[in-house]
Amino acid sequence: MNTSHSDGQQHPISLYLKIWGLLFVLSALSYMVDYMQLEGMLRWSLIVIFMLLKAGLIICIFMHMMWERMALICAILIPPLCLLVFTALMVAESEYTLFTRFTFFS
């Protein structure tokens, strides 16, 4: 994790091909979620799990984040967590909007 790469990131092509295959399978699975018309919690949890797995594989392997130094990993991956706070704020806000629409406009 803390090895420096002065001559760039070099990894075997077979690794990329394996990840490529894995991403294909995960995409097919998330498409199947829609195709099989799963509903409710099962649908949403499967969509999010497949999405996070795909995102993780792309960031770790294709973007080589797995082999970068801890300083770069933290500088890039921690700030986007703010978006989770923003999401929570906007959920509260939009539910209030919906509430007022139902109360005063219907």
């Binding site: 803390n2 990894h11 490529w20 294909f24 829609d34 999010v48 995102a55 923003f86 919906l98 219907s106």
Partner: protein, 211 residues
């Protein structure tokens, strides 16, 4: 962890990577916030919409040989983008091996796949506009659908188009041997941008099309 503390307290460059790569990462971080805000805005209007949200599974269905297959075009676009990410990762590898012809050809292949993606997106937009989708109205339900669709997929499509141009320019320079002495970090940097475009599509696919 000790490495992290040493890097930040050493009173010198914190990230021991080429400056172009650090700047690309910082640009991608800012782009993360742009797309993050778009998707959060989409979530907010969808929660607050009084009318039902249009059923994306049916809206984006295509009729092939008499059967209506849900989301089929979007699924093909997803596979094309993932494939382009794979060819890009291989181009980075060949670049570092100094096999510049192979690297440039794989980058051009990546650009062609990206162009295919944009072409299919243009087809999808045309189809939806013919169906009567506008940023302010659509035949199926909540009026906000059109605005979100055009904004989010449009901005992503713009990123893919810029990526195609960027890839082509760098690939041609690689082919000419422009980086023989400088080193081939540039392919990895271009690759970071391209993988990021793929990454954003993963989130759009999950939240906009499947949700």
């Amino acid at each position: 962890m000790t490495g992290l503390i040493a890097d930040f307290s050493a009173d010198r460059e914190a990230f021991s990577v080429p400056w172009g790569k650090a700047m690309m990462w910082i640009f991608l971080l800012s782009d993360t916030f742009v797309f993050g805000c778009f998707l959060i805005g989409y979530m907010a209007v969808r929660i607050a919409a009084v009318e039902p949200w249009p059923p994306t599974s049916e809206v984006f269905a295509l009729t092939i040989a008499g059967h209506s297959i849900p989301l089929v075009l979007i699924a093909i676009m997803t596979f094309i983008l993932i494939t382009s990410s794979g060819t890009m990762a291989m181009a980075v590898n060949y670049g570092y091996q100094k096999k510049r012809k192979k690297a440039a050809l794989l980058m051009l292949l990546t650009a062609v796949l990206g162009l295919t993606f944009v072409g299919m997106q243009a087809f999808e937009w045309t189809k939806l506009i013919e169906d009567g989708v506008r940023p302010w109205e659509n035949p199926w339900g909540a009026a906000q659908f059109g605005a979100v669709f055009f904004m989010v997929t449009g901005f992503h499509g713009l990123h893919v188009s810029i990526g195609v141009i960027y890839l082509t320019i760098v690939a041609l320079k690689v082919l000419r041997g422009h980086y023989e002495r400088k080193g081939y970090e540039i392919i990895e940097i271009t690759g970071l941008y391209w993988h990021f475009v793929d990454l954003v599509w993963v989130f759009i696919f999950a939240f906009f099309y499947l949700w």
